[in-house]
Amino acid sequence: MLNQTARIISTYSADTFGVCSALFELGGMVVIHDPSGCNSTYTTHDEPRWYDHDSMIYVSALNEQNAILGNDERLLAETIETVRQQQPAFVCLIASQIPFMIGTDMQALARIIAQKTGVPAFTLPTNNMHYYAQGAWYAFRHLAEHITRASKGQEAFWAKDYANWQPTQAPKDGQLRLNLLGVTPQDFSINGSDTSLRQWAEEHDFYVQSCWAMGSSLAEIEHSTTADVNLVLSYGGLGAAAVMAQACGIPYVVGVPIGAMREVLAQNVQQATDKHGSSPVCQETTPSAPDGSPFPKGTASGYTTYLRHDAPSPCLHNYASACQGASASLLIGESVYAQSLARALESATGQHYRVIVPMETDDALLLPDTLRVTDEVDLEPLFQHAGTIIGDPMYAPIMPKSARFVSLPHEGFSGRLYEHQIPDLIAPHCFVQFVTQL
């Protein structure tokens, strides 16, 4: 069997769509430089907010002649005209595979757009050939770089209402301020998970400074350097956390507050501030080192994350032995969410769940026995030896009849197909209900 073939399973959402999803609510304009189709695919399958919320996400409709002749004038003219017409807070110009392949100078185009319109413009290294998590990582990291620079006066804030922005509710004296990083519908759907996150924070007397990026305005996010701790809720938020840790001294904790993880993360958040103090100050930023790879490398910060070996664990477990044998339980999904859920399930049931991460992540985030496997050809043999498999229903066709399949739809994989069945596992009662299925 050949890698990269999928006889029957789906494919994860693409990096371009991860960018769009991350920036959707922030009042910017995202232009996908692509022939066609990207925009409708994203807006149909990967963006449940599209019908009800305006967001300036467009496709350039690149044609063959302009691609071959390297004619970028039409893209420039149309983008500049639309920026002047619609006055976004920023412009994000991203490439699909054809501009990537022909070497379109996206950075130069972004600079021209910024110069001609006065609107901040940037590009991100997408190419439609990576998955959504990578795109969200690029977008949030760029946003963090901007905010840290702006907070030091090195560039202007993008939000037109930045100066006048006031939170609807100010933090209480001494209340720990928290940014939630990496929250998009592709991992958290629109099932109330973002609200449950805020409720979790409130229950632990944390003040949510911002949520990147559901339910927070650009101005709110641009004020997020005053936070005490960043909570990274998906790999997509990790790059931003690393930037803010380095530039502003804001420690970060990684994990999703599901089940027993609710208390673990609350403790870790508190410990992170105890260790690093509660008054982070933005410092001179060290430019991120471009290493030529689209993948992040060496983002381990030394700050506490639940995923590190020495982190507090809701239950003691011998990972090495638990994943052996024919009755192993598997859980497939995004690295931070799936591993958090696995920990929570272990605590609730005593059963170990080995996690399979099929899309990009950072190795530093992974538990010792977590696997990174993407292709159908590699997944099928793994599934053969599983007793229970928790995953998206679109994996079901390659699961053996001997395995017990527990459906956990994931918008980043099956899109809107099962979106009404995606549980908000951050809500305690939903988690309890989910556990009863096991």
Binding site: L2, Q4, T5, A6, I8, I9, S10, T11, Y12, S13, A14, T16, F17, V31, D34, P35, S36, G37, C38, N39, S40, T41, T44, H45, D46, W50, Y51, D54, S55, M56, Y58, S60, A61, N63, E64, Q65, A67, R74, E78, E81, T82, R84, Q85, Q86, Q87, S96, Q97, I98, M101, I102, N127, N128, M129, M394, P397, S414, G415, R416, L417, H420
Partner: protein
């Protein structure tokens, strides 16, 4: 009322009087509305019974087609081969395609009769030798009909669109067969034509067998279309397929556009009558029935504003003219292009009703359109018109919904009455892909 965005006039709207034929709007960055009822190449390919589809492209492109198949409940007829970065530089792409496709075929639980293969834009730039690929596949799997399609929207402004090519390649699988004495086909449609339509009644009442891919149950049913003496087509993507069938299978091509004017309908039906050698029927009773239906409709809806979009029918100006000449209050048309068959009606409506608003459906400014700007009830014909007017009062179909000729007018009048009286859940309905096809969304 023409709208403004940030104090500037919207580029997505103009008075019809100011519109140029055939492309009224300047190109801009493109917006994609949430109305999803139109068919794509996956939907059309699924019409081929006992077939399988294989797409070879990057994850961003795969995503849309994979999930189209999934939402149809047809993942068992769909496979993919994902192109990754390394495949752009250090891979023998012919070998990659042959091996990848072979791997999929060998793992299928049953052998399909035909496989539609869709490489993508990127393969043109890689210079892939498709002829070699298909020669190899045909030699390896001679029992399968290989249907070489493309998902290459980058070429659609100067070459065949993916939809045109797909149709041409599907019907290329028809092997020459002796023509049956009284058999013909409807070619290229996504939706079955209403069996009660004047078109099908004219044929079937005179003893003709009409085959249509949309109603084929087996691959052999499809292959039997080669027995037809002629092909009738009205789907606008069908011209290359009809031409190819004419040249290779000696099947006459009868382009009978889906027009809505009484005279144009009669002209089209009479051409069919000529082809099957029967006298022209007296269409006056049918026209009278249309008049009664339209009168009743007008009595009900009166001067209610009507908006029509280009996904509703192939030729919206023809439909607009019919309604305007019967006293209806058409106020908006949503279309980015005007087909040649619609030119005369476009010019007539433009000359007589120049104040009608003409809207683009994909201009970037449509994203910021004020969808609640209208006062009162709007009756929309088509999903996009419904979405852009945020109205629950709409007729929900695409591409004419199988309606045709005089019977089509009568049924449309009924559907408009129903739509006027009974509001629909617009959000739920327009979000579903591929109107008229299977859909697992609930």
């Amino acid at each position: 009322m023409l709208q403004k965005i940030n104090g500037r006039p919207s580029r997505a709207c103009m008075r019809l009087a100011d519109a140029a034929y055939p492309s009224p709007f300047a190109h801009t960055l493109e917006y994609s509305s949430p109305a999803r009822g139109t068919w794509n190449i996956v939907h059309t390919g699924m019409l081929v019974p006992e077939s399988h589809q294989i797409y070879i492209c990057a994850s961003g492109c795969l995503r849309g087609v994979v999930l189209t198949a999934a939402e149809m409940g047809a993942m068992d007829r769909f496979s993919s081969l994902e192109v990754r970065e390394k495949d752009l530089v250090d891979v023998d792409n012919e070998r990659f395609l042959i091996d990848g496709i072979s791997d999929i075929v060998d793992r299928l639980p049953r052998r399909p009769r035909a496989i539609l293969v869709f490489p993508a834009c990127v393969h043109h730039f890689l210079g892939v030798n498709f002829r070699y690929v298909y020669d190899q596949l045909r030699a390896k799997y001679p029992d399968i009909d290989w249907i070489p399609c493309m998902m290459d929207p980058i070429r659609q402004t100067r070459s065949l669109t993916p939809e045109q090519r797909e149709r041409r390649e599907i019907y290329r699988q028809l092997r020459p067969l002796p023509h049956e004495e009284k058999a013909c086909n409807i070619l290229g449609s996504n939706l079955p034509t209403d069996p009660e339509s004047d078109l099908l009644r004219l044929l079937t009442d005179n003893g003709w067998t009409v085959r249509d891919l949309t109603t084929c149950q087996t691959y052999d049913d499809f292959l039997a279309m080669a027995k037809g003496q002629f092909n009738i087509w009205y789907n606008t993507f069908t011209a290359p397929a009809a031409k190819e069938c004419q040249e290779r299978l000696q099947q006459d091509s009868l382009h009978i556009p889906q027009l809505w004017g009484y005279d144009e309908i009669a002209d089209g039906l009479n051409r069919v009558a000529d082809r099957i050698s029967v006298p022209h029927p007296d269409w006056r009773p049918r026209i009278a029935a249309c008049e009664l239906a339209l009168d009743a409709l007008h009595e009900l809806i009166g001067g209610t504003p009507i908006a029509i979009d280009m996904s509703f029918v192939f030729h919206p100006f023809s439909l607009a003219r019919l309604l305007l000449t019967h006293g209806f209050h058409v106020t908006q048309l949503f279309t980015d292009v005007i087909f040649p068959e619609d030119e005369s009606d476009f010019r007539w409506v433009q000359a007589h009703y120049g104040d009608i608003e003409l809207w683009s459906t994909k201009n970037a400014d449509m994203r910021l359109m004020d969808r609640q700007s209208h006062a009162g009830k709007v009756l929309a014909l088509g999903q996009k018109a419904a979405y852009f007017n945020d109205t629950p009062y709409f007729v929900n179909f695409i591409e004419g919904g199988g309606l045709f000729a005089y019977e089509g007018i009568i049924r449309l009048a009924h559907l408009m009455s129903e739509a006027f009286l009974i509001p629909k859940d617009t959000r739920t309905l327009v979000l579903q892909k591929g109107w008229g096809g299977p859909c697992c969304l609930c």
